[in-house]
C-alpha cells in the first residue's frame, strides 16, 4: 500500500514536522502539496508511528501558556550502580515529564541524570521534588534544581535536511 519514494517520504516528513494545516481534510491538503495520495499520507504516518519514529502525534502545547510557569530541570549526580534504579523511580512520577541519562563533563559538569518537572509555581515544584526525595529516600544524592527564567525559543525539532525548510 505504502509506495512513497524516499524523496516523497522526506517531503512528507518535512511537511508534518511543521504541523498539520487546520483545515477539514489536513491529510488531503498535505497530499496535494506533495502530489501524492491522501491515503499514502495517512498510511505513511501510521507506519512511522508503528516503527517508533513518531513517538506521539497530536497537540503539542506550550506549558507556560497553560499556566505552568515553573519549569525545573533537576540534575542528579548518581553513582553508576544506582542510576538505573533511581531513574526508573523518577520516570514513574506523575510530575516528571522527562528523565534522561547524560554524560558528566568533568570538571565542569558533574551531573549524570536529568529530569524535568513542570508546575504552576516554583513552590509547587520544590514541594513535589521534596516529596519525591522523601518517599524514595533520595535526599543523600547530590542534586541541583535549575529553574528556567525565560524561554527564548520553544518549538519542535526540525530534522528535515531541506535547506529551505525554515
Amino acid at each position: 500500500m505504502m509506495t512513497l519514494s524516499a524523496d516523497q517520504q522526506a517531503g512528507l516528513f518535512a511537511a508534518i514536522e511543521q504541523g498539520l494545516p487546520l483545515v477539514e481534510r489536513p491529510y488531503l491538503a498535505l497530499a496535494e502539496q506533495l502530489a501524492i495520495s491522501e491515503m499514502a499520507v495517512i498510511s505513511t504516518i501510521e507506519s512511522w508511528q508503528t516503527q517508533g519514529l513518531i513517538r506521539r502525534f497530536g497537540l503539542v502545547v506550550r506549558h507556560r501558556k497553560l499556566g505552568y510557569q515553573a519549569n525545573a530541570m533537576v540534575v542528579w549526580d548518581i553513582a553508576a550502580e544506582d542510576t538505573e534504579r533511581v531513574a526508573d523511580l523518577l520516570a514513574k512520577e506523575e510530575v516528571v515529564t522527562l528523565c534522561y541519562e547524560r554524560p558528566r563533563v568533568l570538571p565542569h559538569w558533574r551531573y549524570n541524570l536529568f529530569c524535568m518537572i513542570h508546575g504552576k509555581s516554583r513552590e509547587q515544584v520544590l514541594k513535589q521534588l521534596a516529596d519525591i526525595c522523601q518517599r524514595h529516600q533520595l535526599n543523600k544524592i547530590t542534586k541541583n534544581v535549575l529553574f528556567s527564567t525565560k524561554a527564548y525559543k520553544q518549538r519542535g525539532g526540525r530534522y528535515a535536511a531541506t535547506a529551505n525548510g525554515a
Partner: protein, 158 residues
C-alpha cells in the same frame, strides 16, 4: 488565560493518538458533541494564543536524526544578546535561561551527527563561548504528553 471546555478537552485528550482519517476534526467534533468548525476554530485560537505550538508529530530524536542538549555560561547582563545569536541558528528548537553558572540551555537538532557537530562548533564560534555538550545516553521516560490541571471548568463560551 481562560480556556473553554472544548479547549480543555482537546488539550487533555489529543496530545497523542490524533485520528488518522480523512476528516479527523469531524471525528473529534462527534466525540465532544460540537461541530467540525468549532473544533477547527478552537484549535486556530489556541494556535494564535501560542498555547498550541503545532498539531503534529513528536519524533523520536534518536531515530529521526541527531540532537543534543547543550549549555553555555554567559555574563548575566549579556544573556539576551547571546540567546539571540543562538536562536538565529536554524538547528535550535529550545532555548531557555536557567539559574546556574551555565545559564543558557538549548537543544540542537540536525539531520546527521556530522551536521550536529558542525552546528555546535558554529555556535561556539558565533558566541565565543565554550559549549557544554550533553547528549542523551539513555532515556527512561520520553512521553511528553502532559495532563493539564485546569481551574474549575468554565461554562463553554461560544
Amino acid at each position: 488565560m481562560e480556556f473553554d471546555l472544548l479547549s480543555q478537552q482537546l488539550i487533555n485528550s489529543y496530545q497523542r493518538d490524533f485520528p488518522l482519517c480523512d476528516r479527523p476534526f469531524l471525528k473529534l467534533a462527534q466525540q465532544f458533541g460540537v461541530s467540525e468548525q468549532q473544533v477547527l476554530t478552537t484549535l486556530k485560537t489556541l494556535k494564535k494564543n501560542g498555547v498550541l505550538s503545532r498539531l503534529g508529530p513528536v519524533f523520536n530524536h534518536q531515530q529521526a536524526g541527531s540532537s543534543t542538549l547543550a549549555a553555555v555560561a554567559v555574563p548575566a547582563n549579556d544573556i539576551d544578546r547571546v540567546a539571540e545569536i543562538i536562536n538565529n541558528f536554524e538547528q535550535i528548537n529550545h532555548n531557555y535561561a536557567r539559574e546556574h553558572h551555565y545559564n543558557l540551555w538549548f537543544v540542537v537538532t540536525a539531520p546527521t551527527p556530522e551536521d550536529l557537530t558542525q552546528a555546535l562548533t558554529d555556535i561556539g564560534d558565533a558566541t565565543a563561548c565554550e559549549v557544554l555538550i550533553l547528549p542523551m545516553e539513555k532515556s527512561h521516560h520520553i512521553d511528553l504528553s502532559f495532563t493539564v490541571c485546569f481551574k474549575p471548568v468554565m461554562e463553554q463560551v461560544s
